[in-house]
Amino acid sequence: MAVMNIREAINQTLHDAMERDPSVILLGEDVAGGAGTAGGQEAIGGIWGTSTGLIGKFGPERVIDTPISESAIIGAAAGAALAGMRPVAELMFADFIGVCGDQLINQIAKFRYMFGGKARCPVVVRLIYGAGMNSAAQHSQAFYNLLTAIPGLKVVLPTTPADAKGLMNEALHGDDPVMFFEHKALYGKKGEVPEGLHRVPFGHARMAREGGDVTIVALGRMVSFAEKVADKLAEEGIGCDVIDPRTTSPLDEEAILDSVEQTGRLVVVDESPPRCSVATDITALVAQKAFSSLDAPPECVTAPHTPIPFAPELERAYVPGPPAIEAAVRRTLDWG
């Protein structure tokens, strides 16, 4: 298997998909870069480097640099999908869902249902998200909770290169709209990636660690922090299950419940602020469906109920980190 980082895995998967399937198109701001300039095409290949090389191969009719008009980008993706294509639309920052929210929550999410099951709208929206780069309040948010709340959308959070490829391929083969959240601090993360048409089914969690004493469900960038804590505690003989749900909608309830039934202890780690978050969602799930297994109060390790601050000291305090996770794990173990 080839070793590559998440950025490369996404880029390669897009290359393969566009080659295989002529109905796959890409739209977004500067996905090629350089349109209408003296420097010419492919000045940048996407500001994240995930669409490098695509315009050279597939041309500007399939790799479409757009004006700054997110509603039109997502709306155009919606229309193209209704008309039979498989558009991949890029939101340069997930924070911009507010600018195109209607197309996400009232259009793409609802067409199939409202139209009696006869319309298909397989749009993949790539949302680049997450704190950790001092990009402040409007360029750092982890908004997957807002879209997990919307029936009709699927929500995906790859955390490894292999999953980035497998989940993207799955998105490009299904007939449903998929919100594909890419954490900017994870782009450089390396790993082995299976060759060929590797697919990872939605709704199947990845067991990142198996330990048996505490269940940690971690989301996105939080998975690697949870792994660190698990490895550290393992040295003390404390075994953590670390579950990476990979998709929050659908959610692999079974994997979470099975683990909690064994451990009796739950810690959910989520980069979003606490209210109406995926952390509370999973906590409520466990409280309802694994009630008698729980031996200690579930713990939510989340960002605080604040916008994301700019200063490094503040942003570090904002993002949940290994110490907070470790403390929460110990609290559940010490309880009672």
Binding site: P22, S23, I25, E61, R62, I64, T66, P67, S69, S71, A72, I73, I74, G75, A76, A77, A78, G79, A80, A81, L82, A83, G84, M85, P87, D102, Q103, N106, Q107, F111, R112, Y113, M114, F115, G116, G117, K118, A119, R120, P151, G152, K154, G174, D175, D176, G203, P250
Partner: protein
């Protein structure tokens, strides 16, 4: 312009169908038989039909909250539509959409839409698909004088021009957005079309109560779009005969306004008057169509009333293709 008898009869039938569909709904809604709130298209028939008579099933349209006319003009099954509006299980959208959410993608009707301004960007996407197919097909966004102020509509026009796709923006100016007049809400140097022109598009204007004018102007526009692959816009001056929604007290109207409109701006009367001085059709043919349409609408209402209601156990179907 050369018309065929068949073509004219078909156009008249479609306009008459829209009119009678809406007039009948107006009555049925008053009886309290129809759930939700409904926006009637009566008065604007020449707009939808004048545009859609140029299209076939591969051309695509996106519609608005006032979508019945567009649906019928594009060829949706009238009985299935009626069932949908009654909220019945075998309505066109299984009773889940209702009046504001009728679609039939198999014939290029990509959906009515409850969100004002949502459709225009979708037409740009449909036009991307049309370009990719390479068969000279087009995608049309119907928008009102209210929708033309929504940011999405501007974005869509700009993007269509930038990426150069065969998207057509049809602005049906019926002079009201809900209770507000177009003269207040639409700031322009001249009209809605001139705002579209500022995006570098070719634009046209036509009388949206006159089938011939709309149809002929659209012919020119489509020649341009199909020839160049570029977007274009047209503003249709038209009229709304009923309230914004059924139940609207319409206190914003001038006294006698609707009576005057029904006298002077009725698309069916204008069509008949034209044919009366023309050699193409015999008015008796139109009378016959009116009767056939009445029978169709009667049957549609009867069948919708009798049709099976929705089954609550199906509520969770079709949210996803697979979950």
């Amino acid at each position: 312009m050369q018309y065929s008898q068949d073509g004219l009869l078909r156009a008249y039938r479609r306009m008459a169908t829209i009119r009678q569909f809406e007039e009948r709904l107006h009555e049925e809604i008053a009886k309290g038989e129809i759930p939700g709130f409904t926006h009637l298209y009566a008065g604007q028939e020449a707009a939808a039909v004048g545009v859609c008579e140029h299209l076939d099933n591969d051309d695509m349209i996106v519609s608005t909250h006032r979508g019945h006319g567009h649906c019928i003009a594009k060829g949706c099954d009238v009985k299935a539509m009626m069932k949908e509006i009654y909220g019945r299980r075998d309505g066109l959208c299984k009773g889940r959409g209702g009046s504001m959410h009728i679609a039939d993608t198999s014939i290029g009707m990509l959906g009515a839409n409850g969100i004002v301004g949502a459709g225009a960007p979708q037409a740009v996407g449909a036009a991307i698909a049309a370009r990719a197919e390479g068969k000279g097909k087009v995608a049309i966004a119907f928008s009102g004088d209210g929708a033309c102020n929504q940011g999405t509509t501007f974005e869509a026009m700009n993007m269509a021009a930038v990426i150069s796709v065969p998207a057509i923006f049809v602005f049906e100016n019926n002079h009201y957005s809900e209770h507000t007049g177009d003269k207040y809400a639409v700031a322009t140097d001249r009209d809605i079309a001139s705002r579209a022109k500022a995006f570098g598009m070719e634009v046209w204007r036509a009388n949206g109560c006159d089938f011939y004018d709309t149809f002929e102007t659209m012919a020119e526009l489509l020649d341009h779009v199909r020839g160049s692959g570029k977007p274009a816009a047209i503003e249709l001056d038209t009229e709304r005969f009923y309230g914004h929604f059924e139940g609207d007290p319409q206190r914003y109207r001038a006294k006698g306004e609707v009576d005057r409109l029904r006298e002077e701006r009725d698309a069916l009367k204008i069509f008949r008057a034209h044919e009366a001085t023309d050699e193409m059709l015999d008015l008796a043919q139109l009378d016959a169509i009116d009767e056939e349409v009445t029978a169709l609408i009667d049957a549609a209402v009867d069948e919708a009333r009798e049709a099976e209601k929705c089954d609550p156990s199906q509520i969770e179907e079709d949210v996803y293709a697979a979950y």
